[in-house]
């Protein structure tokens, strides 16, 4: 069984880092996992995405044109990736930076004002990416919160370890977000 995840947004929103935390979490759960970035002539403010594939066996294709779960942190990514969600899958939309709309009936939509929540409750919009992972953990059930906490510890370098408690708070905030609230 293979599960595919795409995280997309503006360069600078921490899209690649969120993917790295997620992938580390799967590794800690003893799954096979790959992380693949969009790399190219990218720049700050441009679009960026990464694909994380979790599998019981060796991962085959590391780049996908469909995924089970997609997180979009801005409008441009929502416009593009809404159609990449596999039937029955889910898209988590940052409604602070993307308008609420539903063009499909065969997928699940989760709208959350991710940037706003990070600003109001954590005092730092840079936490948006990790907050979104909390929401993903809740709706997908493929990874638990404590694993993601350990993953954060793997990814955040020694001289930034002081940021871990705040990021754990972000994870929890996402995890506890009322999914029915739009």
């Amino acid at each position: 069984m293979e599960k595919d995840f795409i995280i997309a947004g503006f360069g600078g929103q921490g899209v690649l880092l969120a993917g790295e935390v997620l992938a580390n979490g799967f590794m800690l759960d003893d799954k096979k996992v790959t992380w693949y970035p969009s790399y190219g002539a990218e720049m700050r403010g441009g679009t960026v995405n990464c694909t994380v594939v979790m599998s019981e066996d060796e991962v085959s294709a590391v780049q996908k044109s469909q995924a089970d779960y997609i997180i979009v942190l801005n409008q441009a990514s929502f416009d593009k990736y809404e159609f990449w969600v596999r039937k029955g899958g889910a898209i988590i939309v940052n409604s602070s930076l993307a308008a609420i709309s539903r063009k499909r009936e065969d997928i699940n939509y989760v709208f959350a004002p991710i940037t706003q929540m990070a600003h109001d409750k954590l005092g730092n919009i840079k936490m948006s990416n990790i907050l979104a992972l909390g929401i993903l953990a809740k709706i997908s059930g493929v990874i638990n919160l404590s694993t993601l906490e350990n993953a954060l510890n793997n990814v955040i370098p020694a001289h930034r370890k002081n940021l871990i408690p705040k990021n754990v708070e972000a994870l929890k905030l996402g995890y506890e977000y009322d999914l029915l609230k739009v």
């Binding site: 880092l17 790295e20 992938a23 580390n24 590794m27 096979k32 996992v33 790959t34 992380w35 693949y36 970035p37 790399y39 190219g40 002539a41 060796e58 991962v59 085959s60 294709a61 590391v62 780049q63 996908k64 044109s65 793997n154 990814v155 370098p157």
Partner: protein
């Protein structure tokens, strides 16, 4: 960001970092390089780690300089390497020819991107010819190893250093942009190979012994004939001892898919999908591109009905598969010019068209 690499602990890192860490574990004393996407992380990692360890790191003024620095360092008997990509590896071809003639254990990591010319920075397998057929002059071979996972990026880097030393022949680790840029868990084991004694030839200063010269110039025709025969005797030995490949489901296969490197990941899944449809499909993955597993492919051709190579280039390894099969079975090609490999579903539907 680079995870701290500790022996026997799984870490999630990019292929490029895995290669660099493995080179350090293998005892690489000198790194010479010039940055180019998609392999710049190798130099980035080395620039910090090598200095911490008191080893040599030089950001060279050009690729030409970098590879010639590797030749110089190798001639003194230390393990040395460079890394680069496609259009920049092209600049190193002359030095690689010299290194085979000088019998120097050069290690070069080639992380392929799109070509020809400057091309683009996306993954490609377009330098199969460049690495296995060479762009330098004269009769020579490079040992070429092709990883397909980040774990293999590490393991085959170890092997590249070992084979280079063992056979005194330049060895290329042939990865691609996908392997270089992707992250996957990897576990570093200690360098598993014996150290090779090079005291009989290394240039270490002539104190207490006669001076030595390493050169590739043979003014008399007979000398050069003799040298070439000796060189090719070595290549035959390498073919005999070091040919490596992976086979999946070939025992009863009617169709065998042949692919190397990152593409073979997708090919393995394509074969599984074909099996689910009742097609007897197997996978053959050369791990050494030189020496190429000719003999085994030829054996398989006695009963396999069709070979299909899958490559991200316009069709390069397909020629070697045809030579190996030697007319015993048809050899077809599924390919994509550049970029991530075709999806397993795409490969399967192309297989269905070919049969």
């Amino acid at each position: 960001m680079v995870a701290e690499c500790v022996e026997n602990k799984k870490v999630l890192i990019k292929g490029n970092f895995a290669i660099a860490q493995a080179a350090i574990n293998a005892g690489c004393e000198c790194y010479f390089g010039y940055p180019i996407t998609p392999q710049s992380e190798i130099g980035e990692f080395m620039s910090g780690k090598m200095q911490e360890l008191g080893r040599a790191y030089v950001s060279a003024e050009s690729e030409l300089a970098a590879i010639n620095m590797v030749l110089g360092a190798c001639s003194t008997g230390v393990k040395a390497m460079s890394s680069s990509s496609s259009c920049a590896v092209a600049l190193m071809q002359e030095a690689l020819s010299y290194a085979t003639a000088d019998e120097l254990p050069v290690v070069l990591v080639s992380v392929m991107r799109g070509g020809p010319g400057l091309g683009n920075i996306y993954p490609s397998q377009g330098d199969y010819f460049q690495s296995t057929k060479g762009g330098g002059n004269g009769d020579y071979k490079l040992i070429v190893l092709a990883p397909s996972t980040v774990q293999e990026c590490a393991d085959l880097t170890y092997k590249a250093f070992y084979l280079a030393q063992k056979y005194k022949n330049p060895t290329v680790l042939l990865a691609d942009g996908l392997l270089g840029q992707m992250m996957e868990p990897v576990e570093f084991k200690p360098y598993p190979y014996p150290e090779i004694d090079n005291s009989s030839w290394a240039l270490t200063g002539a104190k207490g012994r006669d001076g030595r010269i390493i050169r590739s110039y043979a003014p008399l025709a007979d000398n050069q004939c003799e040298f070439l025969e000796k060189l090719y005797e070595k290549y035959r030995k390498i073919e005999e001892n070091e040919t490596e490949w992976e086979e999946i489901g070939t025992e009863d296969a009617d169709i065998v898919l042949v692919s190397f490197g990152s593409t073979s990941r997708n090919v393995k899944t394509a074969a599984k999908l074909c099996r689910q449809k009742g097609l007897k499909v197997g996978v053959f993955r050369p791990i050494t591109l030189f020496p190429f597993p000719n003999k085994r492919l030829n054996e398989l051709a006695d009963r396999v009905k069709k070979f299909i190579t899958v490559e991200v280039n316009m069709g390069q390894m397909v020629n070697d598969v045809k030579l190996a099969v030697n007319g015993k079975a048809p050899v077809e090609l599924i390919h994509k010019g550049v970029g991530a490999p075709p999806s397993p579903e795409d490969i399967m539907s192309q297989i269905e068209e070919l049969i």
